[in-house]
């Protein structure tokens, strides 16, 4: 009998079916890998398994018992280690292990010495080489990752352990330690759910694999029977409308932007060229340094060394005002935080970028502003009741259209789209691809597309720069093999060409 099981679960968000009738059973003593591209439904699945989301349809069984409204406490048997470190960094290792002291007999008092003593065997078991009274922020990231697992598993009697990308910030040695610990947990007859993007880890560790794609379960197999290409095929699948491509067909030979040996906090020695009218894709895993690189060229983050030229002229770094006024515009990934001015109207959100041209006497021309807003709403097909609507009440797709329209009002030379379709429904996605293509072809703008969706990068880019760990892992043609691209961004050197 599986210890954790979902039957036929469906979870719908406005505009997207995140999980579509998915059945998965997790057995004791088994490491079960779940794979899929970004947006395939892995996170949604975890959130259903841990009781964060309630699926619209289908059932969840824990130890054979159906989880309903009355027995939500069953979710207590599922231990979960999130992808991001969420420890209290200004507290000690021991405090982090035992907070909130549920199972202690301290009765409102915390005996620091006692919890430190109790922490020692746990640290030993998980091979965390730190002292219990060290502050978490002072211990290495690898120890923090292991500490997260320790914390999730010692607190209660659990039957299943979910690990969400536990190795993203680990080096090879530390990964081996973590694998040993995970195998020990398997020996204790627990079910382990292992989520990772790294194919070689799956094959080193996993017993069985389930692949999700676009919210559907597309494959289930014993890992021993399969190989990497099979997994990649399952993950990416066939492109639905394969013939529909959105890369620019009017790339010139003129170099628009040239970066030379750029190094910053999270990227190292990066050089690339962007041509006029080209769409250049930047693909890599989360944390590969794509966003940081572009924000640094834009002037939002510091560049330590290196040089950028735009139109053959030296580019001033570290000044966003200069960048915007000289035609380099960055459209951020976190739209809600960095892109929109949530409480201001659509009209004000559009005009704020070009107030200089709307100046009339001492103030702003109200008439000019209204006309501009209507123009953008019209030409970018923004769905809003009127231009005085606060932008926070528009859908994500429409917010994105406003932001693109606003950027185009500034006559840009270079546009950086950072995950432009994140959280956006399929129909609007296509609109945004078309906009990018149009802007590149008709206005000769150079476009940089940062995306975690391989499908998107391949559909839209003329060339693809693969980043791994803050470095360029390869520059690939748009006709490149998916497998080569995937290999590059997970740190495997591309296959040598047959000689």
């Amino acid at each position: 009998m599986p210890v954790l099981e979902v039957r036929n679960i469906t979870k719908v968000f406005p505009g997207v079916v995140a999980l579509d009738s998915v059945d998965i059973a997790f057995e004791r003593g088994e490491i079960h890998c779940v794979m899929g591209e970004n947006g395939a439904g892995k996170s949604t699945l975890i959130k259903c398994l841990t009781g964060v989301y309630e699926p619209e349809d289908g059932e969840i069984y824990i130890d054979g018992e159906h989880v309903g409204h009355q027995n939500k406490s069953l979710f207590g048997k599922v231990a979960y280690v999130p992808q991001e470190i969420d420890l209290f960094e200004h507290m000690t290792v021991a405090e982090n292990l035992f907070l909130p002291y549920e199972k202690s007999s301290f009765k409102g008092l915390v005996n620091q010495k006692e919890i430190e003593k109790k922490a020692l065997p746990i640290l030993e078991k998980f091979r965390i080489k730190v002292r219990p009274d060290d502050l978490v922020r002072d211990v290495p990231i690898s120890a923090q990752q292991l500490l997260q697992i320790a914390r999730a598993t010692i607190r209660r009697e659990y039957d299943a352990l979910i690990l969400d990308e536990p190795t993203t910030s680990l080096t090879t040695d530390n990964i081996q330690v973590m694998f040993d610990i995970i195998r020990e947990i398997r020996r204790e007859n627990k079910a382990v759910v292992f989520i990772s993007h790294k194919l070689e880890e799956i094959f080193a560790l996993g017993d069985v694999i389930t692949v999700l794609r676009n919210g559907k379960k597309v494959a289930y197999a014993n890992i021993a029977d399969k190989d990497i290409p099979w997994v990649v095929t399952q993950m990416t699948g066939r492109v639905l409308d394969q013939d529909q491509k959105f890369y620019s067909e009017k790339v010139t030979e003129e170099v628009l932007l040239e970066a030379e040996h750029l190094t910053g906090a999270q990227f190292t020695d990066i050089s690339f060229q962007l041509k006029k009218g080209e769409i250049l894709g930047f693909y890599g895993l989360v944390g590969a340094g794509r966003t940081e690189l572009m924000q640094a060229i834009f002037g939002y983050l510091p560049v330590y060394t290196g040089k950028v030229r735009v139109d053959k002229a030296d580019w001033r770094l570290g000044d966003t005002h200069y960048s915007v006024n000289n035609g380099f515009i960055y459209l951020p990934e976190e739209r809600k935080k960095y892109g929109i001015l949530p409480m201001l109207s659509v009209r004000e959100n559009i005009s704020v970028a070009v107030l200089d041209s709307l100046q009339k006497g001492l103030g702003i021309s109200a008439q000019g502003e209204r006309k501009l807003a209507l123009d953008v709403i019209d030409s970018y097909d923004v769905k809003t009741p009127n231009y005085d609507q606060p932008i926070q009440f528009l859908s994500g797709g429409n917010q994105q259209k406003v932001i693109i329209g606003r950027a185009m009002c500034c006559n840009p030379k270079v546009l950086v789209f950072d995950e432009p379709t994140k959280g956006i429904d399929v129909g609007t996605k296509l609109d945004i691809y078309k906009m990018m293509k149009k802007v590149a072809e008709e206005n000769g703008v150079g476009i940089i597309l940062i995306s975690s969706e391989l499908e998107e990068v391949i559909k839209c880019s003329n060339r693809i720069v693969a980043l791994y760990d803050g470095r360029v892992a390869g520059v690939l043609d748009k006709r490149a093999d998916k497998e080569d691209i995937l290999s590059a961004v997970i740190g495997i050197k591309a296959k040598a060409p047959p000689s």
Partner: protein, 345 residues
């Protein structure tokens, strides 16, 4: 109901006006209540002294609301005001400088002190509240060094009308407050800088990504706040006929309270400086009522403080009520659906 883009939706516009109309209505109600409770409230002398008080809280409140709009605040407004008042007074009385010139110098000083606050906060990346608590200590200390705790008396008669005089029935400080309000409203509602202020208040990060020189605008606002504080300080000196370091003791708290009562969010991005003036009026009416109703002198400060806390809570309480309503609607809906499925099953 479908409206074309750009077509004005009447409902939405009415809603948008509603914060201002609501606090305006509260003010009217309080004035009516006060005039019913005390026969002396509508007395010309009482009203004039109330409006004279209100002029100062209102002026500082308008200035403070500018900072709240970008999600920051300045607790040194009172000390800046008294320091500028003392400098003006010492120049006029001890150095024999022309009174008008002395006042202009003091205004310039206020602007510089404000700019200093802003520069420290932006350059050292400090929290505005902590930094201005420190700076108010500095300014207050300089006050004491200059005056040794004594008031500067003998302010020239020629300028006392600025604080004590009336234009027709209206106290002159209040006229200055209205002038400040018109200028600030023009700045925030009509100019590029005003738009940038709201943009920064919505999201400093987004504003930076839009290419707005965020820090420059922040320093500018601190300077304007310093300038207005100096103006209020000088007018208060003219009102008292002497410069004292005690001027402006309650201004930081009262200015924040009036802005919040007037619908300016502490978190930034929302609100109208005119609301701060209405908020100041509400506070002044409360304080006046407490005096007129003969509350024991020793209790006055406690009672007025408590009433101000209640006034500040208006908006968050109405928010809680709204939340509760939505909650009960949703609960009812879910129960209805559950009942329906049960019937089917």
């Amino acid at each position: 109901m479908k409206t074309k883009p750009g077509e004005k939706s009447l409902v939405l516009n009415a809603l948008r006006r509603s914060t201002m109309t609501a606090i305006g209505a509260v003010l009217v109600a309080m004035v009516l209540l006060a005039s019913v409770l005390s026969p002396y409230f509508l007395d010309q002398y009482n009203l004039q002294s109330l409006i004279r008080d209100l002029a100062f809280i209102g002026m500082i409140g308008i200035a403070q609301s500018l900072l709240l709009l970008i999600g920051e605040l300045d607790l040194s407004v009172g000390k800046m005001a008294s320091l500028c008042g003392i400098i003006a007074g010492m120049l006029m009385v001890h150095q024999g400088v022309n009174p008008v010139l002395s006042m202009i110098i003091a205004l310039a000083l206020g602007m510089m002190l404000g700019a200093l606050n802003g520069t420290i906060i932006t350059r050292l990346r400090l929290n505005s509240m902590v930094a201005t608590i420190g700076m108010q200590g500095v300014y207050g200390g300089i006050n004491l060094v200059l005056t040794k705790g004594k008031a500067v008396t003998g302010i020239p008669e020629s300028i006392l009308f600025l604080g004590k005089g009336n234009l027709g029935p209206i106290p002159i400080p209040f006229i200055f407050t209205l002038i400040v309000l018109v200028c600030i409203l023009f700045l925030t509602k009509k100019t590029k800088t005003g738009r940038y202020i709201y943009a920064i208040g919505n999201s400093k990060e987004a504003a930076k990504i839009l290419g707005i020189k965020v820090d420059r605008i922040r320093v500018l606002i601190y300077s304007v706040v310093g300038l207005i504080s100096a103006l209020a300080g000088i007018l208060y000196v003219a009102r008292l006929g002497s410069s004292q370091s005690a001027i402006g003791e309650n201004w930081p708290m009262n200015s924040i309270a009036s802005s919040v009562i007037g619908g300016v969010a502490l978190t930034g991005g929302i609100g109208n400086p005119a609301g701060a003036l209405i908020g100041a009026a509400i506070i002044s009416v409360i304080q006046n009522m407490i005096v007129l109703l003969g509350v024991n002198v020793y209790w006055q400060s406690a009672v007025s403080g408590f009433v101000v806390v209640i006034a500040i809570s208006f908006s968050s309480i109405s928010g809680m009520i709204r939340e509760k309503k939505q909650r009960s609607i949703k609960v009812a809906k879910v129960a209805a659906t559950a009942a329906e499925t049960e019937k089917k099953g």
